[in-house]
Structures are given as C-alpha cells and as structure tokens.
Amino acid sequence: MKVSAFHLMPHRELPPDFERRYPSVWVTPPWGELADARRVGQYYNWTLDELLFAARAGFDGVCTNEHHQNAYGFMPSPNLMGSVLAKQTNGLDVAIVQMGMTLPTTSPPIRVAEEYGMLDCISGGRLVAGLPLGSPMDVNLAYGITPMEHRERYREAFDLVLKAWQAKEIFAWNGKYFQLGQVNLWPRPVQEPHPPVWVPGSGSISTFDFATDHNVCYCFLSYAGARAASTMMDGYWDVVDKKGLERNPYRAGFLQLVAVSETDAQAEIDYGKHVEYFYHKCLHVPPQWFAPPGNQDYRSLLAANRNPVRRAEDPKTLRYKDFVNKGYVIAGSPATVRERLVEEVIKRLHVGNLMLLIQIGSMPHELTLKNTELLAREVLPGLRDIWDDKGWENHWWPKSLRGARQPAGAAR
C-alpha cells in the first residue's frame, strides 16, 4: 500500500457568506475583493511546509495539482511547488506525485515532458507523472480550449509526451493539434523507460478505456467518498477484467478526505467547520460548468443522461455529521479513521495507491500539522501491509521506492 499526502492549496479565509454573494468559486471569483497577495504568499508557504511535514512524518508521497482562476485550489503551476518538494525531500524515500501538469493546456505539450524530466532529475528518480485531462473549468473556461477538442487534444499530447521521453532518435511530430519538426528532449527522466504514469479521472467511462489501454494507474478524484465511488470503481475493474488485465490494486488510485483527532468527538470540534467550508464554499460551482457541451464524448454524455441521479445530492444541504456518515470525509479517532479507510476505501474499492487530503478548506496550518502527524503516526502503520500478502508489484510507483518506507523521520 502506498499512501500520499494531497494538497489543493485553497483560499483558507473566504467570507462566511461567500457562496451567497458570488456565483462561483471557480473562473469568476474577484481577486481584488477576496484575496491579498501577501496573505496568499503565506498560503503557498504553509502548503509547502505541510507537504514537507507529511514527507518527513512518513507519508510515501506528496501530491500537488494544477488549477486556474479559482479559490478552491490555486496552484496554476504544480511544478513550481513540486520543484521545491523534490529538492527538499532529497534523502527521503518519498515520491513526488505531480497530479499534475494539465496536458491539453500546455502548448507545446513537450513542456510537460521537459519539466517532469527536470523534476525526475532533481529528485533522483522519485517522480510519479500525473497526466491529467484537466477540469472543464480550467481547460475550457479559463484556458479557452474548445470542449469538443479537449479529449482528443489530450490524447495527442499524451502520446507525444510518452514518445518524447522514450525516443532514441530525434523525431518529427506531425499531429492534428501540435506540429514539431525536431523533438529531442532535454533533459530525459532518470526513470526508464519513463516515470510511472497516473491518469486522474472523475468517472467518465472513456477514461476507464484510456487508462487500461495505456496500462496506467487510474486515479478517481472524488469528494463524495468511497460509497459514492463504488459504482464507478466497480465499472473500472470491470473494464480491467474485460481486457484480460490483472486486478492489481496498484492500477487504481483514490483520493479521500481525512480528519483525525484524539477522539471522534474531538474531531468534530476540530474539523467540523473546515469540512463544511470545503463543501459549501470550495465546491461552489454552477453544475453545468463541469460538462460544457462537447466536453463529454457522445457515448459518455448519453450514459450520463441515462443515469441523471448520480450526483443529485447537493452538498450545501449537508452538515459535518452528514459528510462523515456518508463517507465524504473519514473523520474521528485514529482507530475510526483506520478502520474506515481499510474497509470502505482500500478493500471495497480495491485501491493500492491512496491519496489523503491532509488540509481541508479553511483548516489552519497548526491543525493541518496535527492531522498529518496523527495520520502518519497512528493510521498509516495500519494500512501499509494491506496488499503485501497478495504479492502485487506496484508498477506505478518509482522503482527505487517500492520497498517499505523507512520509519518516520529516518533518512535513507
């Protein structure tokens, strides 16, 4: 089992009436009214410190991601963050999980191959290369990519990046979206033939096919918890079965929100308002923006319209206890969190690469460190060996880090 610490880098101090005053947390929130550059500098530094703390405390990996024009999580360049993390974790058995640089908005996409090459060099071969499609808000609304071209552009960029990493000879790329006369990547990654690839998704059936066809780790990034995700993940494993691939749990990743305290009651006191802040404010987006016309291919669109009840629940009507009861957030004492992670998430979804959101919404720095520390000390040891008896190899993890993580704090 590999467990990574995930961070969105959200705005932690949105006004209490944010979701009533503004139409969206994404694309349109006015910077001048809501943010202050010096304070935001503090957020970035906290974010880096929290991820480094997680790395030193015993997490197997640290995750950053790319989003634009929003207060939900604003690392427009995950590699700026990843670069600091790579440098500062040299000597630790920690993967730098970039979840990652968005392919369809990076032009030319060999920039992704180059920057990931740099990160793999700086980290000595500890990179996990997330190659995300990007959310419609980022890609279509903020960055102007035509929805109907989003996926095709992604697929071309994906092929180009993989080829750029591996080609022994200079090659010409005559694509539909990108034309490059002489591709000759500098630097190349340390890991051969290329760093492990993770593809994040949100349950689209076309991404299941893509992930299995390319033999990458499919990561379901959901905020509705494992119960809501079980149908989706079952669908993914069905595709794995149908294609005759092995049911290796490491070909799946899952993101879970977690909040640990001394007791279940203390967890509510510590985290209640931060969890509600996250679901009420940070996810405040007009629903139709998640799927502008053309963004879903025809088959996925028809499938979604045939099952319209899937996301009928409005998180704004739910409170902390609901989020915990429904599994959106796994919160409570170390024992509670450990047991729910094992049963509801890891075993039920058959997941080998778990990502835990260590900082949720308005959660302040000190509380984030507490959450992270309790997770590393009290929860992670109970998860580590879950798949070991089955003998699965984590092909989707840097080879040099596939063994057991050193005890907390110990240098390599």
């Binding site: 502008p292 016309p293 053309g294």
Partner: protein, 263 residues
Amino acid sequence: MSEPRIVSVWQGRVPFRVHVKGAGAAVMFLHGPWGLTWGPFLDALAQQFTVYAPEHPGTSPGEPEAIQQVDTLWDLVLCYDELLEALKLDGVMLVGHSFGAMMACEVAALRPARVRRLALLDPIGLWLEEAPVVNWMLLGPAEMAAHVFDKPDGVAARAMFAVPEDPEEGALARTRLTWAMGSTGKFIWPIPDKGLKKRIHRVGAPALLVWGEADRLVPRAYAKEFAGRLHDARIEVVPGAGHAPHLEQPEATARVVAAFLKT
C-alpha cells in the same frame, strides 16, 4: 414533407441530412446552436420557395460522430460549399439563424456570386468589447431558456427545452440538445469571432438583419455592426421575440423574410 435527402460530401465522410419542401426559388435555411426545428416558420417559407434545410454535421439522428470529420471552420465552410454544389444550387438565397447565420455569411463570403440574398436572424460572428455575446453553453437549463426566448415558459421555449417524461426519450432529448450545442460550439469557442470581419466585405448579396426585440444573447448593437460591414443591409426588429424570432414569432418573422427574399 418527403423523406430527408442524404447528401454526402467531404470525401464521403460527412453525410448531410437535408429536409426539402415547397416549390419555387431555392432557399437554404441554416439552423442555430440548438439543432434544426422544422416548424411554422419554415412551412410558411415553403409555401413560396423551395426550402432546403440541412442539419449541421453531428446533429443528425444516428450520426453524432460525423462532426469529428470537420476539424475547422474552413473545413465546415467547404462542406457547405460542396453541399450547394451537390444540390446544384447555383443561385440560392440563404436564411440563417444565430450560428447558422454566421455560416450563411461565411458561405456567401467564399463564393459571392452564388448567393442572391441573405436573411440573417440574430447572427453571431462578430465581437464588440462593449457588448459581449453571452456564452449560452455556460448557462444552466433555466437560464438558457430565459436567454434564448423572450418568454421562457412559452410554447417555443418548451418545444426546444422541455424534457420528455419517458426516461429514455428524455435522455435522448437532453443528449441531442447538448450535442448540437457542442457540435456548433466547436467552431466558435470561446468567443464567436473567428475572422468573419476580415471576410464579410466579400458578401455581395443584399442582406436583411432580423433581430428579436428581446435578444438577451446577442445585443442589438450587433445589428448595426453587421449592417455597417455589409454592402446593402437593412434591419427589421421583431417584437415579442428573443434570440429565436423564427420560433417565437414564426408568422411575423416569415412575413418579413419572405417579403425581403421576393424583392
């Protein structure tokens, strides 16, 4: 109405489905972002003209993937050029709505001699900083009806946006509408200004600009902008209509359009 004709163009990869009705001089109608609705407006035109109404690639039943054969606006303009060629419409009058009106301008700019008259219903295709066109593809269902129609609860709005009760029919209807917006949106995202301003001077045909009085998607300022850039254009405003006057006020709209096409 007889069965639609299938006219394949683009090396046989784009099967245009064309509805044909009426008798008299040839009029081609190019529909807007929500797909083709054959209703009273086209029936009225068909009483005086032979109306050809092609379906935009990707919006025909059973052929959603046809849109993948058309990559760029240039491809699409040439597809229409081939369609007119295949139908042997040497002298044709074009009527277009919204996105379809933009395409009518493009087709007329490509081969000015072929187009005799041009009726544009609330066209898109130009951009004014001070009066941005609303991107309808970002609106929720209720907002969308309120932006496209003067009366969002009216008959025309319900005909376009109401979802059938039968689950399967409802899923198909929603899919058809979204896919039609995606298939047309492909050529105008994220701003519907793809260079028509550089080409519109080539249009030689007299033009009529028809504007719904309450168009909340494309402000009236664009009527003047189009009229100023065309050689010979006049503006008619249709009361009681939003962005789709031919659907909300079919008789009044058909009257002004037919009168213009006949002169």
